[in-house]
């Protein structure tokens, strides 16, 4: 009963503190929305990447290349540059994701089988540039192969004396080129994409920015669960500083009971925080947290147990509130960065990914992604839950050891 009294006292103290609400609820919600907006993009506008185009070729093949790019689902053409220098400026300013210059002699050289290549400009290292380059290369390859097909057709017809009477080689070439380009509308083999996902991805109008929020919601929830410890761990530090804790030890409450009381308060606080943020994710962002309620509950409870363990250790170690802030914010930054709360781990090198799996936040995020993106249930999240439980036990043990030492 005393344990519960102590926990209730902590919770009352936290409820009175405005700072608690800022870290626990306001910040994760604001940053989930901001990051979701930032990474999901403006859904009302054309989501295709802008490609600045300067077509200096006045003949037909340049136009064919433009037509192929106009049909692209990946890039949209912006033809506002009057010169290569102007296009370079647009690329450098990031007004466009990349720039393409089709040289004046493109048609002529391509028809003659002379080496000719449009100039592609992009800022080095950007994923947008890589994506656009792949798309442009596909279009250039298809045009080049269509030209090659037309040329071989003309050469073969000429060798076999099979050119129809009254038809010039140029007209015969154009006819073959038109056929080849039309054939690329339905190539004999193509790629189809399917997802290993038991959950159907919601329609865009039902859940705008779904994929962006499915990453940022768990990431920000995990990050700010640690930030939220500042208030709760601060209570413990304050009790030490004001000698209240020492007085408490003189009562018939055991050190273990004191720690469990504080731990319980932290656990309840984090659990409430996560429950509200999950509710926000489900109702406002339409993320399917409730599609697997037991799995969501298991990940949430174990994540809260881990966070409370970390909070207890911080509270025990810190000598004052200032130290609590340092001891909470530094792990928050490190664990959030390493755990993939900011940048998805898939874009990091293999060694980083391996190290990340030693961090509890990576397991929290992975557990939620199993539910939200992979559509998996209780069985899939048991490993994540077990790891988080182990962390919780380890941190609680460390806190007890340190408290006894003090």
């Amino acid at each position: 009963m005393r344990v519960i009294d102590l926990a209730l006292k902590d919770l009352r103290q936290l409820a009175r503190d405005r700072q608690t609400f800022i870290f626990l609820l306001v910040m994760p919600i604001v940053f989930t929305l901001l990051f979701g907006f930032a990474f999901g993009g403006n859904q009302t506008a054309d989501p295709r990447l802008p490609l600045g185009l300067l077509n200096q070729d006045e003949d037909d093949l340049g136009q064919h290349l433009v037509a192929l790019l106009e049909d692209s689902a990946v890039v949209r053409l912006q033809m506002e540059a009057d010169s290569p220098a102007e296009l370079e400026r647009l690329v450098a300013d990031e007004t466009v994701a990349a720039g393409l210059v089709i040289p004046a002699s493109y048609s002529e050289q391509l028809r003659r089988s002379e080496p000719v290549a449009p100039t592609f400009m992009a800022l080095s290292g950007g994923s947008a540039g890589f994506t656009v380059q792949t798309e442009v290369e596909t279009a250039v390859f298809r045009l080049t192969s269509a030209v090659q097909a037309a040329r071989i057709t003309v050469e073969t017809a000429a060798q076999q004396n099979a050119l129809p009477g009254g038809v010039t080689e140029a007209a015969y070439f154009d006819d073959a080129l038109t056929r080849a380009l039309a054939a690329w509308d339905a190539p004999p083999v193509q790629v189809v994409h399917t997802n290993a996902n038991a959950l159907p991805v919601p329609a865009e109008e039902d859940s705008p920015n779904y994929s962006a929020y499915a990453h940022t919601s768990p990431g920000m929830m995990a990050q700010f669960a640690i930030a939220g410890l500042i208030g709760a761990a601060g209570i413990l530090a304050l009790e030490k500083k004001s000698r209240c804790l020492q007085r408490l030890v003189t009562t018939n409450m055991s050190p273990g009971q004191i720690l469990v009381g504080h731990y319980l308060a932290m656990f309840v606080m984090i659990l409430l925080q996560m429950a509200i943020l999950i509710l926000f994710g489900q109702l406002a962002l339409r993320l399917p947290y409730f599609s697997q309620p037991w799995a969501t509950l298991l990940v949430t409870v174990t994540a809260a147990l881990f966070c409370a363990g970390l909070g207890l250790l911080i509270g025990v170690v810190a000598r004052d509130e200032e130290q609590v802030i340092v001891l909470a914010l530094v792990p928050m930054f490190v664990l959030a960065g390493l755990g993939g709360a900011w940048v998805p781990l898939e874009v990091t090198p293999a060694a980083f990914q391996r190290i990340a799996m030693f961090t509890p936040l990576a397991w929290v995020i992975d557990g939620y992604k199993d539910i939200l993106v992979r559509g998996l249930g209780l069985e899939a999240v048991t490993t994540a839950a077990a790891v988080l439980l182990a962390y919780a036990a380890g941190l609680f043990g460390l806190a007890v050891w340190r408290f006894r030492l003090d």
Partner: protein
């Protein structure tokens, strides 16, 4: 600056540099986070910059077709020996295991589509490439179009995109030969030419000889000549991160140093100081000077550290200096302003933790979304609603090669923020001292 003002500034500076938490926020966290990102993106050792993450790929070749003898003579494609392959599906599987692709794809062959999908379901692989039974038949023009299925882990985006791009390129190469042969024979037939098996073989030979064209011949790729500064993408990212961290924690430093007004008030040392012939102006000047000097040290050290350790090219010295001056002024005045609104150090803790984190992260949005091609333009405007956004913008302009003229407008905006913060802050503090 009077001697008294200088003494107060020295004392406050000493306190700041002796505070372990201040040092952690000023230097340790920005460097720690930047190092974390350096590691995250593969470090700076590689001149090429990014090391593309390797994606585990499983390939199930279900192709039941058989190549006629003429096609098996194809000697090599993209450096991969294709001699002896019995089907184009087998050729495709062999191509996906090419040495050139090992850095980005780790390929394992599977016997069935179910096993390949199961590997993705169990997260043993990121993508399954399932080559259908009619793959060769479709490419030999003997049946319906074939669909190569890319079955992927839905949590992954980058790796499957790379795999899709590679597979798409191979399929286009195969398709180009089929389309070319089809077009040639179709047009010759339409013109009334007699098609002999020798002619077909000759035509096929011409098209397959052209397969495997390197992408280097398709485009001439170049960075825009206007792009200055780092060409190493990792250094570019680290510059954004360290620049963002510098701005974020400079505001904490300004607030932390100015917070000594509250601390001294609570300890009663401020009241004792006022019993001596020390003017309010000298006291405020001393505290403000301390904030400015501590910020100069912090900003300079982090800029130099970034240059020496992370090889960050911050830009030309004058634009960088203008960006740094703007940052230092706005961070110091923001500290004065915030402290003038606070009643106690406890309240200040909440305000600094909450408000500065919130505004700092809003100001750093361009840093967080730096690589995203889908970032809405409105986000840049949102960032500029807070002073941190202008400070980040200043550093970014300098890094992008902007000149002093480009930085002036930004500096003016920061001076405006600083002026407002200083005017309100010093008036409120003076009034508090007067009480």
């Amino acid at each position: 600056m009077t001697m008294k003002t200088w003494d107060i500034a020295i004392k406050d500076m000493r306190l700041s540099f002796r505070s372990r938490s201040a040092i952690i926020f000023m230097f340790v966290v920005p460097i720690l986070v930047t190092t974390l990102f350096a590691f995250m993106f593969g470090g700076l050792d590689d001149e090429e910059g990014f090391t593309l993450p390797q994606t585990a790929v499983v390939v199930a070749n279900l192709d039941e077709g058989e190549l006629p003898g003429l096609a098996t003579e194809t000697p090599a494609y993209l450096g991969v020996d294709l001699a002896g392959v019995h089907s184009l599906g087998e050729a495709m599987a062999r191509l996906l295991q090419a040495d050139a692709l090992r850095e980005v794809m780790q390929v394992t062959l599977m016997d069935s589509a179910a096993a390949a999908r199961a590997a993705v379901d169990n997260q043993a692989a990121g993508v399954a490439v399932i080559i259908p039974a009619n793959f060769t038949a479709a490419l030999l023009g003997m049946g319906q179009a074939a669909e190569v299925e890319l079955y992927q882990d839905p949590t992954l985006t980058f790796g499957p995109n790379v795999v899709s791009s590679v597979v798409g390129r191979f399929l286009d190469s195969f398709s180009a030969a089929t389309i070319g042969v089809g077009v040639t024979l179709e047009q010759l037939t339409a013109g009334g030419a007699a098609i002999s098996p020798e002619m077909v073989q000759a035509v096929v030979g011409q098209f397959t000889a052209g397969m495997g064209q390197s992408s280097a011949t398709l485009l001439t790729v170049q960075a825009p000549t206007g792009q200055t500064g780092d060409t190493n993408p990792v250094a570019q990212i680290l510059a954004q991160i360290l620049g963002g961290m510098l701005v974020f924690y400079a505001f904490f430093t300004g607030a932390n140093v100015m917070q000594s007004i509250l601390t001294e008030e609570e300890k009663g040392t401020l009241q004792r100081l006022f019993t001596t012939p020390t003017s309010h102006l000298a006291l405020l000047g001393g505290k403000f000077s301390a904030a400015l000097i501590v910020l100069v040290v912090q900003v300079t050290l982090l800029l130099v550290f970034g240059r020496l350790v992370f090889a960050i090219h911050w830009g030309r010295w004058l634009p960088v200096a203008l960006a740094a001056v703007g940052l230092i002024l706005v961070a110091a005045t923001a500290g004065l302003f915030l402290v003038s609104l606070m009643k106690s150090t406890r309240q200040a803790g909440a305000m600094f933790g909450g408000l500065l984190t919130l505004t700092g992260m809003v100001g750093m949005m361009s840093v967080f979304t730096g690589g995203s091609p889908y970032t809405p333009a409105a986000l840049d405007i949102i960032s500029l609603l807070v002073p941190q956004g202008w400070a980040v913008r200043g550093l970014r302009l300098a890094m992008e090669g902007g000149g002093a003229a480009d930085l002036l407008l930004n500096l003016l905006a920061l001076l405006l923020w600083s002026g407002v913060f200083f005017a309100i802050g010093q008036r409120r503090i003076q009034r508090r001292f007067a009480r």
